[in-house]
Point group: C2
Chain length 585, copies 2
């Protein structure tokens, strides 16, 4: 097997032409083996097997710099840079991350995971090269989907300005995660259909020397193109048409389903289901929003490039004009939502916590400064969200809860979630964000209303108060239960519900018997909710302990270990409380 | 005077053709009168007098929706929508804001101030119109400078996708605040030079019906163009070439100086100087960076569209390739800085606090996640920074200080500022942001070093501790001095220097005699530094009081009043401390 002999890209240089073709076949086979057993980003990787082999044959990484957008398409790159073992050896499948990672290899320049950054990164790398008087190639790969993000445009704009060697490769498989939307995609289509000769050319208009390759899965054509551009002294752009999912019939045909996912049957494509619960917060919200939109033509759901967060293709077709996918453009999503709300309809923006941070200014300056009644549904905001360091959903409380006017809500169960959603859509006073619970659906089966004038729920007790935010309310309940049952301490239990402010009047009047307040939040402590409670109680002699996560880029962690490391367990927190009570007597 | 008779845009409809021309002259004269006496955005407004009159003659605001980018060019719009008094009556000059403001008029849709948002806002407004089955024109104005921001591109992309009436007006005066940079500007130039007929056309490539008008200061041509496009049923884009500063010879010739500024002599253009101190933190940093770059060819200063924050045109020419202006593209600036640092040079990014929030994800995901040694110089981060609600510099501690890996420093004087800058440039372990002091330069004339291992400075005392962050260290000093001199209390004074973490080991071991800790920060309290101190001291019986600003979009405030409203005075804080000490005895 040739792939097993490849320890570094240098090993590709010596291969015969026919061995290179064999390597492509072996890499694709290894890829299919791993993704069908292990899951991962199928479509994006299957589409660039030839391109990746050609890049490493022609260019000289790590002297030449390869920079990947999102870097979810780097599985073959990893195979060719000393990490084939993690694709060939089942026991090593988890040994490498799903994204580039400088800790793994000198051939991975950056830790990446969000979209549209590769061109700006390349622009910096190339500028540094020029300042140092060095000469080598800087190559940035970006998918057509990532071109919907404004940062990609800013990158193109500045690469042309720099004017020196930067080779931009647009990997156009005519598909984002789902289908593409927007004017740029009409142009990409026209360019594909005309084999790069359409009269209007976005890339030429931006100032690029433009090269089109129609068969982007033809190794020889790729080699020849890259050879012709290597060491050029100015920016060039290669628009390369590839086939997403190439090599798996069902993945080629159903490009959305096989963008990424869990293990599947490599013959039929059927995903291996792990007996997941049928009902999730997401599925419940999907149903509720579809009913809501059917009932009210002025409700509109906005999403930025991850439509399957709520609606599959069939559902999107059914919804029609009341669903908008703006591309991977969170800034636009938020600012558009401001425009929608201003002009009197009811926008609901569905977004993952990790991607929402790409729109901080749009949320603050457009939605919040204008105090417009929009609803933001924040998904994956939890230690139980995505666990890659580039996709964490644990920073949203600090960054959202300090934005004026915006009300950030943390429901703790199904009934609260929907009560808050209803309330948000019915009011016209403020933008509202709802931190959608993560994990198993908690049902109370109680009639539940929400009103910002009566935000928090309290089960009164004494001595100790446990404040459980959102997903961690269950932990607070368990602690209070344990204190009562095992230690006869009748602790107060608080569900604060609103994160963008603490219930000051309540905290100022809590029973003086309270000696200890514990706050629990499913996110980082620094700048978070608990610290606001500490501040509010600063004038009292009550001791306050804030529990949550440390502000760090935790990576591919085991949830239980991370919780344990942060003392986030019933036993540890209860022990701490008992210890403090003992000390104070 | 015709202008005085205009109470609403409806009044323009009845004017004769010659009266309309007179109105243009009167509006320009009123503009020159006010800006020469009062200051403001001269160039942008002088360039669009004819365009604004034409827009209000042809379209029917507020039924038709006019949406302005940044909205710094809306002075004539304000004159024509019932607010002429604020340009004609000297005593009313401050009665309207320098930006659109829905509180002032129904003709102002949004509060705006940041760049590149108008197209996305318009896209939302138009989508809402379509959902409601209404028909009217949605018109978005955007300057050429604002086209450097990726959000503008996202807006264009989605306006084409929506496909219904949206009239985009690109006001091209061939100038951002300073000169433009990037590939898009080569295209704009080619389009201007060819009168819109250049073979490569960015806007056509994006899918727009494109109209070019070369003399954008010709009222009749503008009227005719707008008439022809009114009520169109699809997106159109008008590329209109205007003259920035039109009507003032010196402003036409020196477009950077007269973009915005204070009062000037309308004959000579000489700015009225108010006897400002020669030396500012900015001027000191300018000198230091120029010396640093001359000494080290691998130091590079990056800026996003506000180069005069540090360097005027002559200085930029002198610096050459070691200064990069990426356009109004803060996201790109931050991500490019990551690329620069990764490839071994020393990037220093100079940015205003208010605009830095446009790059939250790039700072977190590209610079901080990759833990790259870049330096961010944060300007205007203070209650004494810009005072418009859309330009506040008071939110940066909450949003920056929770980003892992990044070290956020708050110097309190000149010597610390430069010690921190030196330290940051010399280290390779972390990204560092420095909150450049705002206000009069404080000099200690003491040899000062900075080292992250010995971050904070303490003057030990007892009973009371006052922690003064950055600009508010002086306030802390004054409080401590007053307590000593007037009340014989020997308070501890702390300069924490590092905002991205509290000195835990120090706080855990402070003298048990301390009963009260007061924190002072020049920014919002929620999510800020003081709350971290409250949290860290939560396990003690020490009382902690956090002083700073409330999380609100304070607007055109008087600094002293706002300080007073937040209890931020020596007398109020000292009284609070004394009161608490009394209470505890």
């Amino acid at each position: 097997m040739i792939l097993e002999t490849i320890q570094s890209p240098q090993d590709l240089k010596a291969l015969s032409h026919s061995d290179l073709h064999t390597l492509v076949d072996e890499a694709r086979e290894a890829l299919i083996q791993k993704i069908s057993h292990h899951g991962g980003h199928s479509g994006p990787n299957l589409g660039v097997v030839e391109m990746t082999v050609a890049l490493h044959r022609v260019f000289d990484s790590p002297t030449d710099k390869l920079i990947f957008d999102v870097s979810h398409q780097t599985y073959v790159h990893k195979m060719l840079t000393g990490r084939a073992y993690s694709f060939l050896d089942v026991s090593q499948y988890d040994a490498v991350s799903g994204y580039t990672n400088p800790c793994e290899s000198e051939h991975d320049l950056f830790t990446v995971g969000h979209t549209s950054t590769s061109l700006s990164l390349a622009n910096g790398v190339a500028k540094a090269r020029d300042l140092k008087g060095e000469t080598y190639n800087v190559i940035a790969l970006i998918g057509d989907g990532s071109l919907s993000g404004g940062l990609a445009y800013e990158g193109l704009n500045n690469i042309v300005e720099l004017g020196s060697n930067t080779i931009v490769i647009v990997n156009d498989n005519d598909q984002s995660i789902a289908e593409n939307h927007g004017g740029i995609y009409q142009n990409l289509r026209a360019l594909r259909q005309s084999k790069g000769r359409a009269p209007n050319n976005f890339f030429k208009a931006m100032g690029f020397e433009y090269h089109y390759l129609d068969n982007g899965n033809d190794l020889d054509a790729l080699l020849s193109l890259f050879e012709s551009l290597k060491d050029c002294d100015h920016p060039v752009l290669c628009h390369i048409h590839t086939l997403k999912g190439k090599g798996l019939d069902f993945a080629e045909k159903n490009r959305e389903s096989y963008h990424a996912g869990g293990p599947f049957d490599r013959e039929t494509g059927a995903y291996v289901t792990l007996g997941q619960p049928q009902e999730t917060y997401q599925s419940l919200i999907t149903q509720a929003l579809m009913a809501k939109m059917a009932h009210d033509p002025e409700v509109v759901v906005v999403n930025a490039g991850t439509p399957s967060i709520l609606f599959n293709k069939t559902q999107r077709e059914q919804i029609g004009k009341q669903f908008v996918d703006v591309g991977i453009a969170e800034g636009h999503a938020a600012t558009m939502v401001a425009g929608l709300a201003k002009n009197g309809v009811k926008p609901i923006w569905a977004v993952f916590s990790t991607f929402m941070q790409r729109s901080y200014d749009s949320i603050s300056h457009d939605i919040a400064l204008n105090n417009l009644p929009a609803t933001i549904l924040v998904f994956g905001a939890s230690i139980n969200g995505m666990k890659d360091q580039s996709h964490l959903g644990i920073f949203d409380i600090p960054f959202l809860a300090s934005i004026p006017n915006l009300i950030y809500l943390a429901p703790t169960n199904k009934e609260e979630t929907f009560a808050m959603l209803e309330w948000s859509c019915d009011q016209n006073d403020h933008p509202v964000a709802i931190r959608v619970p993560v994990g198993e659906v908690v049902e109370t089966n109680k009639q539940t209303n929400f009103d910002i004038c009566h935000p928090y729920d309290v089960i009164e007790g004494d001595t100790v108060m446990v404040i459980g935010v959102g997903n961690f309310y269950a932990l607070a309940q368990a602690i209070v239960k344990g204190l009562k049952e095992d230690h006869k301490i009748n602790a107060t239990l608080v569900n604060p519900k609103v994160l963008s402010g603490v219930p000051l009047s309540y905290l100022n009047n809590i029973s003086p018997s309270h000696q200890i307040v514990v706050t629990l939040e499913d996110g980082v402590c620094d700048g978070g909710y608990g610290q606001r409670v500490s501040s509010a109680l600063g004038h009292t002699s009550i001791k306050v302990f804030n529990y949550g996560l440390s502000a760090a880029f935790h990576d591919r962690y085991d949830v239980n270990t991370l919780l344990e490391d942060h003392g986030l367990s019933v036993s540890k927190i209860s022990a701490k409380i008992l210890d403090e009570l003992k000390g104070s007597h």
